[in-house]
């Protein structure tokens, strides 16, 4: 049994309660910067906002916004594309990031240099990446098609073909974000307990058995973190698809975040845009919770 000692003096009381009250500024800041906008967004999601005489008028119209959701011609394509994008990009990034981390982890020299080189894609602004790949994907002048021409293959419409456009964006995302997974996994690989791995060697485990039964379970916490981070970020991917394809051709590369941008900013449908934002947040939080549960089960 633990005995709790209560403060008997004023100084003691101040000491005991100060740590709680000292959090107040942070709580107020959080409420002002996060909670209030979130509540406002929720309020907006069930409203229609119009402007007259430089004044805004809010009317409570939840049904109207849900009807807009149901009749939105591009929404289903955006949802499906986003799921495909997240699944494809994150899986490949995880596999490549882990493989690179294990390879670099075995290097005797040049680990620092490799880490520095690998960081470069993350440091490049997304706008620059979009512009760079747009040029490389260019049908007539792009590097990829010029390279294909050298080996006698015909030009490919990387961004103009409905069946290829989304995958072209996935490739860019993989290039951009694999280093992020690598960095997390590399730190974890460097921190692996060598005695456990050596014990595996001594017990005669094959390299595959070592990876499957020793290394991967030990890396699972880092893998979970990398997976969750990347999934959330991939759900929100915007810059690359905006710059490369604009969601087209047709709706072949329309992603949720881009669709949200269109609804909010291009079509100026604030209420429906807010509803989409709220639903996207709920979807991400649900996926996050599910992911954590699955990860916990796998660890057990």
């Amino acid at each position: 049994m633990i005995a709790v000692r209560r403060p008997r003096t004023l100084a003691g009381w101040i000491n005991a309660t100060f740590r709680h009250w000292s959090l107040l500024p942070a709580v107020i800041l959080f409420a002002a910067l996060t909670a209030y906008p979130a509540v406002d967004l929720a309020r907006m999601s069930v409203s229609t906002i119009t402007w007259q005489g430089a004044q805004d008028f809010w009317t409570f119209t939840p049904r109207r916004n849900f009807e807009a959701l149901m009749s939105d011609p591009s929404l289903s394509a955006a949802v499906v594309n986003t799921l495909v994008f997240v699944a494809a990009a994150v899986v490949v990034e995880m596999v490549l990031g882990l493989a690179l981390a294990l390879l670099v982890g075995r290097m005797v020299r040049g680990k620092g240099a490799m880490r520095t080189i690998m960081i470069v894609p993350i440091l490049v602004p997304a706008v620059a990446i979009g512009s760079m790949f747009k040029l490389m994907y260019n049908y007539d002048f792009g590097l990829f098609n010029q390279a294909l021409a050298v080996v006698g293959l015909g030009p490919v419409s990387w961004l103009g073909s409905p069946s290829l456009a989304l995958w072209s964006v996935v490739i860019v995302d993989i290039w951009h974000w694999t280093p992020f997974v690598f960095l997390i996994m590399f730190a974890a690989v460097e921190g692996l307990p060598q005695d456990v791995i050596e014990a595996g060697h001594v017990d005669g485990a094959s390299p595959w058995q070592l990876l499957r039964y020793v290394t991967l379970p030990l890396l699972m916490p880092a893998l979970t973190v990398a997976f969750l981070f990347r999934s959330i970020l991939a759900f929100k991917a915007f810059d690359e698809v905006y710059l490369l394809t604009g969601g087209g051709p047709g709706t072949s590369s329309e992603l949720l975040s881009l669709h949200l941008y269109r609804v909010f900013f291009e079509q100026n449908q604030l209420g429906y845009g807010a509803l989409l934002s709220v639903l996207t947040m709920v979807a991400i939080l649900t996926a996050l919770a599910l992911g954590r549960r699955v990860a916990r089960k796998v660890r057990r």
């Binding site: 009807e67 011609p73 103009g160 409905p162 604009g246 291009e266 079509q267």
Partner: protein, 444 residues
């Protein structure tokens, strides 16, 4: 000797005095900040602003932003407490939202004596707003803005290539197709390129073809009849024409061709014809950017075989926010008055801009090869008009731009795409309680 010196000094003094004389005397004004888009004509606008500052001593700060960010910044400033901008340059498509929201000052409210020069082009009354009618019209409307740059699409072509092939610049769509049959040699040369990207690009470019056939999006928006007519046989014929030219004459990825691609293909000499806004003209005159300097000319857009010449205006309007101080409003209007003057527009044209005055467009500049576009521009303006001039314009553009693109890439037939677009557009109007309906569907 002393006489010569005196003469030279007097001449220099006169020249200096002339240089210092403002085109229009606007007096000492408060400094202003203008929300400005980063566009191909920005260098010309920047130069003319510098001239204003030099002549008047008044200060003008340009807050330059990418296309989409201009709208966001304008919304944030005008809907909020305001004051960040004393004037805003708005794409004509966005002005409806600002007019209807009551965010802008009518020019007459700032200076009741103000009237724009009669030579100033109104670009289908894009700067006027009739509050009762909810329509851009000078009839009963107030002047809320004026056009700083009036853009229209024109037909660019390579003078040397067409001449060598014995092909005249096309006046009709069949002539475009006939010229393509001679000139199209993909992948080294494309006969003609059109924008096909989803959304604004294809919507804007195709609507010229639609108007040429006499088709409309809605029956009579000006008088409140929003019955959707986009799925008419005329629209379908226009869309079929557009798809045929884009596929037969252009690159094999027509659904992904944007404005940058059209400029790139024309300036590298890979495309020999193309439909493009006039504001892109300067791109082909700069030897650092263009391999076809002096080899490009423009004519009004080709029309349908049995149609008329048509064009949709895409202009940038200068407007003054409502929420700023009277002194700032006066200063913003002073700059506008100066910019509307003949001399300022002449200088703007010389700097690479498109002037907005008929007298400058008919001036001695037309004899200069650098301004050989002027006759085509004036000719195009005769029939050019505004489109989607209602509050739902942006939504209609998205709906239409998606379906047109889907038809272009073969995801659906032209008939199905237009039927679908018509239904989408009708839904938009219905939600806003407009008087709307739907014409008979096209065969799919």
């Amino acid at each position: 000797m002393s006489r010569i010196t005196t003469f030279v000094a007097a001449f220099a003094l006169c020249a200096a005095a002339h240089a210092a004389t403002p085109f229009v005397d606007v007096g000492k004004q408060e400094p202003i900040t203008i929300l400005t888009p980063s566009t191909p004509w920005l260098p010309a606008f920047t130069k003319i602003v510098e001239t204003y500052e030099e002549q008047t001593g008044n200060k003008v700060k340009l807050d330059v932003n990418p296309f989409g960010a201009v709208l966001e910044k304008a919304r944030n400033d005008l809907r909020g407490s305001g004051g960040a901008y004393d004037a805003v340059l708005l794409d004509t498509q966005w002005t409806i939202e600002m007019y209807e929201g009551g965010f802008l000052s009518p020019f007459a409210d700032i200076d009741s004596a103000f009237t724009p020069p009669k030579e100033l082009l109104t670009y289908d009354d894009s700067g006027y707003w009739n509050e009762q009618k909810r329509w851009r019209t000078s009839k009963g409307g107030k002047l809320m803005a004026f056009t700083v740059l009036g853009n229209v699409p024109v037909w660019y072509y390579r003078t040397d290539v067409l001449k060598d092939a014995g092909v005249a610049p096309p006046k009709t769509i069949p002539e475009v197709l006939a010229s393509c049959a001679k000139l199209n040699k993909p992948p080294s040369t494309y006969g003609a390129v059109l924008r096909g990207e989803r959304g604004n690009p294809i919507r804007y470019e195709w609507q010229q073809w639609m108007l040429s056939r006499g088709a409309t999006v809605v029956r009579d928006a000006e008088n409140g009849d929003f019955t959707v007519t986009i799925n008419s046989p005329q629209s379908k014929a226009a869309l079929d024409d557009y798809i045929e030219v884009a596929k037969k004459c252009g690159p094999p990825n027509p659904g992904a061709v944007g404005q940058g691609d059209v400029i790139q293909l024309l300036s590298t000499g890979k495309a020999v014809q193309g439909q493009l806004v006039l504001a892109a003209w300067a791109n082909f005159q700069d030897p650092k950017k263009s391999a076809v300097v002096g080899k490009i000319a423009v004519v009004p857009l080709p029309r349908a075989a049995d149609g008329k010449t048509a064009a949709v205006i895409g202009n940038w309007n200068y407007a003054i926010p409502k929420g700023i101080s009277p002194a700032k409003k006066k200063s913003a209007l002073a700059f506008a008055k100066w910019l509307m003057s003949y001399d300022a527009q002449y200088a703007f044209a010389k700097a690479g801009g498109i002037p907005n005055r008929t007298d400058v467009l008919a001036s001695d500049l037309t004899k200069d090869p650098n301004f050989s576009w002027m006759p085509a521009y004036l000719e195009t303006l005769k029939t050019a008009r505004q489109e989607l001039g209602y509050a739902e314009g942006a939504q209609v553009e998205q709906a239409l731009g998606l379906r047109l693109n889907q038809a272009l890439i073969g995801e659906m037939s032209s008939g199905k795409a237009l039927n679908q677009a018509a239904q989408d557009i009708k839904d938009i109007f219905e939600k806003n309680k407009r008087k709307t309906g739907l014409g008979p569907p096209l065969p799919e």
